[in-house]
């Protein structure tokens, strides 16, 4: 799972994953052959002012097969605060891709250049 989070973070920041909006606001999804990953933030059950970042893996039939939050990590491989930073960055980048923020900025910049 640690490897998956690291790879997801890297490829999302590189713009290689096609994140999409879903019916539910604030939940973004990306399809892979036979699996789908959903990424979202939810209010932390321990601190209502804080957010937990969650990755949900669904199989080809749309059933959830795994769900992890940044709070589930506290190992030698990945400390809890590192997991939080990685997943938060991934979430922010995924949101930008899904909402088309980068494309919009590029368009505006090209218009301004003229």
């Amino acid at each position: 799972m640690v490897k998956l989070i690291a790879r997801l973070h890297k490829q999302t920041l590189e713009g290689k994953i096609a994140w999409q909006k879903t019916l539910d606001d604030g939940i973004f999804q990306a399809g892979f052959p036979n699996y789908t990953i959903k990424l979202f933030a939810r209010t932390s059950p321990l601190d209502s002012s804080a957010l937990d970042y969650v990755i949900r893996i669904l199989d080809a039939e749309g059933e959830t097969i795994e769900e992890v939050a940044d709070t589930d990590f506290d190992t030698a491989e990945l400390r809890r605060n590192e997991a939080y930073d990685l997943m938060k960055e991934t979430y922010t980048a995924a949101r930008r891709i899904a909402m088309g923020v980068d494309k919009a900025l590029d368009n505006i910049l090209s218009e301004l250049a003229d």
């Binding site: 909006k21 999804q29 789908t36």
Partner: protein, 202 residues
Amino acid sequence: MLRSALEQLARFLIETKWGGIVNGLGLVVSVIGFAVTIWNVVRTKRASERAEQAVTILRMALNRSDAIMEVSAAIAIMEEIKRLHRAGEWKVLLDRYTTLKRLLVSIRNPENHLSDEHVGSIQSAIQHFTDIEKKVERSLAAGTTDQKKVPKLNEIVSMQIDALAAVLTEIRQEVGKDKSWKQRTKWLSSLHGYISKRLRAK
């Protein structure tokens, strides 16, 4: 009678140098026969390989043609789903979601040789329609279907239409740049050149 004739012939061959010549000729005929047999075996093998290749190319072309029809049908169903959302035909929609998902699963088939990126897009579409179906089913059961959610639903459906249109483009481009087809065209063109040359020489 036949026996005595053969005995006479054998005696003639032994007594004259013709025996050696016939022996030599027999050897030459055997070697030529063996070479012709090998050549025929090689030719038959090549022909069967070419036939197998042609069948594979035909099968791939048929798969691609099926895939093009299925993707077009899926896009048409998605357009219909958008119209049905607007009309609030929720019960009819549940059937359409199921039909569409079945079609998308079929398009995802590895025999269609789609890129991982596009298989991912199709998987994502399947997930979207699974989620939409669950929500509509729950709303119908609770009697809370709401037309206000239609713009958001149709936004998701439109995104999937765009994704499938990209898949359709990829399949169409693949038909154009298929290596096997290129090789076949090259072979046919060289055969045509050879025949024209021979005809000109005559």
